[in-house]
């Protein structure tokens, strides 16, 4: 579902589509964690569990002409933007059929045919890339909007603050989506950010709002308005989505128990579950139908990925250059 459809589609269809999207991300991540445990995915992942509403709803507010950049915790964004789950999983498994032909992995998944300009493993780095891309598309006369996702930790990267300035200065059609899940790895946001996140964005002269990042429909409403505003030429906007990371910072944490969140805090955080919130808006039978649709898609994805060839080690640096003299 896209914003194009939003006006025409019955609200119920929107509700169902959002549920399908959050459910798909949820189950994809749960299965990916299993593949990390079984060794099919090497190196681990940063699970997106708990934050599904943000990727699903922000991407639902976009048209096919728009572009996004993602992060180290990026599976949700890539899936929500429409990437094929089989090719996504194949990428995590380092297969030749992966989105990046097995050259990128979990933190770098990209699908340029869908406007996914890549997930970026350097915290805060993609915001300026998205700003440049959005600016360039506008120069070319297109009405593309760019969305750049990042975490609360990125708010302390100077380059991200520089990007906010450039975007506001040059009125670039870019939407900054800060997923504040309370922590940068183990560092609580309260110990890391002086002042407030949205006040920083407002200081550059762009509107900035804090919203409930656990409710897909809340996020959809806010991001639809923000995208429309950017598209109309009014410049960048900033959304701080309050959320909670349900699982580990990275799957390495499943073995190394790090002491930074109390069990009580985690339980309270998990109580506001975006999949449950959206699921409750569907009749039981319809929800079950979506669930089995998602499982079937993920079964097929797993079969595809597991059955895919590994890249040929004879040419490990293929694609290093566009042209090599």
């Amino acid at each position: 579902m896209t914003a194009d459809d939003l006006g025409r589609t019955a609200p119920h269809a929107v509700t169902v589509d959002l549920y399908r999207a959050v459910r798909l991300i949820r189950r994809f991540e749960e299965r990916a964690i299993e593949f990390v445990r079984s060794g099919e995915i090497v190196g681990g992942i940063h699970p997106y569990l708990g934050q599904e509403a943000i990727a699903a709803a922000v991407c639902a507010a976009l048209t096919s002409a728009d572009v996004i950049t993602s992060t180290h915790r990026g599976h949700g964004h890539v899936l929500a933007r429409g990437a094929d789950p089989g090719r996504m999983l194949a990428e995590l498994m380092g297969r030749e059929t992966g989105l990046n032909k097995g050259r990128g992995g979990s933190m770098h998944a990209a699908d340029f045919s869908l406007g996914i300009l890549g997930a970026n493993a350097i915290v805060g780095a993609a915001a300026s890339i998205a700003t440049g891309a959005a600016w360039a598309y506008r120069q070319q006369g297109r009405d593309t909007v760019a969305v750049t996702f990042f975490g609360d930790g990125a708010m302390n990267e100077g380059m991200l603050l520089e990007a906010l300035n450039l975007a506001a200065l040059w009125q670039v059609p870019v939407l900054f989506v800060c997923e504040n899940n309370g922590y940068a790895t183990t560092m609580p946001v309260g110990s890391a950010v002086a002042g407030s996140i949205t006040a920083r964005a407002r200081a550059f002269g762009m509107p900035a709002f804090t919203i409930d990042g656990q409710d897909p429909e809340t996020v959809l409403k806010a991001s639809t308005a923000a995208v429309a505003r950017a598209r109309s030429g009014k410049g960048p906007m900033f959304l701080e989505c309050l959320t909670y990371r349900f699982d580990a910072h990275h799957t390495f944490e499943h073995r190394a128990r790090l002491d930074y969140r109390s069990p009580g805090e985690v339980a309270a955080g998990r109580a506001r579950d975006p999949v449950a919130i959206q699921g409750a808006r569907l009749p039981e039978r319809e929800r079950a139908a979506v669930d089995s649709e998602v499982e079937a898609a993920l079964d097929a994805a797993a079969e595809f990925a597991l059955g895919s060839a590994h890249p040929d080690p004879a040419d490990p640096l293929k694609y290093l250059y566009a042209v090599m003299p």
């Binding site: 572009v67 992966g98 989105l99 990046n100 032909k101 097995g102 050259r103 990128g104 770098h108 990209a110 699908d111 340029f112 300009l117 890549g118 970026n120 350097i122 780095a125 993609a126 915001a127 300026s128 890339i129 998205a130 700003t131 440049g132 891309a133 959005a134 600016w135 360039a136 598309y137 120069q139 070319q140 760019a146 100077g158 380059m159 520089e162 990007a163 300035n165 450039l166 200065l169 640096l317 293929k318 694609y319 290093l320 250059y321 566009a322 042209v323 090599m324 003299p325």
Partner: protein, 324 residues
Amino acid sequence: MPKLSYLKALNRALGDAMELDPSVFLLGEDIRVAASNLTAGLSSRFGPERVIDTPLSEQAFTNFATGAALAGMRPVIEFQIPSLLFLVFEQIANQAHKFSLMTGGQCKVPVTYVVPGSGSRTGWAGQHSDHPYTLFAHVGVKTVVPATPSDAYGLLVSAIRDDDPVVVFAPSAALGVRDDVDFSTLAPVPLGVGRVARSGRDVTVVALGHLLQDALVVADELAGVGISVEVFDPRTVYPFDVDGLAASVAKTRRLVVIDDSNRTSGFAAEVLALAAERFTLDAPPRRVTRPDGAVLPFALALDRAVQPGRDQLVAAINAVLEDQ
């Protein structure tokens, strides 16, 4: 024939590239008024949308260029001082350079980074006098260091047309070099192709950027005492023209490299390693470089003492000719 200065040649290359391709645009600090003269006249010719003065946000505008390149543009960034490349090393080496491989060839990042005034600027001291081309060669970013006005024009044009990121180092000491140039002969110079700047028999001297002039002067001097020096200008540091140098060394069987990098792991070290692996020489090769870990001191005599110079080059040439 009209005289063309190195700096004017770069300026001409930018203008021609912008004329030919509307996706080329310039970004940098104080480039509208052309504080460094690199972009002189371009703002009035192409307008503020294509000659963009940026705030002092090197990291963001370097990634901004990457984003614009992903969206189909060909940005050219001017960096006012060479050490700004340290500030944006991540954005070039870790972002722009890695996108092609990491995305499995889904995209290209045709950004050109130009430093008009790399190396010692005489009197600008430690933080303005680096010449960090070796760093970019090491990480595999295409890197050129033109020596002459014609090559400055031709390599910059090729860098802009290239579909990968390219760093163009214009040495401060070369900016004023002027040559007689028939403007109709100005043409792109392919990346990765060196040039024999002076033909000789006894020893090959590898020199690039402003050091080419020094090497040519030394070659002239030594010709007077019966030593025939061949001067090879690689022009591109990475990818390096191995075949070009191999052909020269096959003839002279002796090799000296003069290089404005620090010694350890510098460009000269790489050329010497190549010689050890690939060439048959009659004497151990030598290099003339900045000292290990050099920081250019301010006082003029100290600044000069740290830079590779003609006397050292003469001594190195004599040494390889004496060695057997």
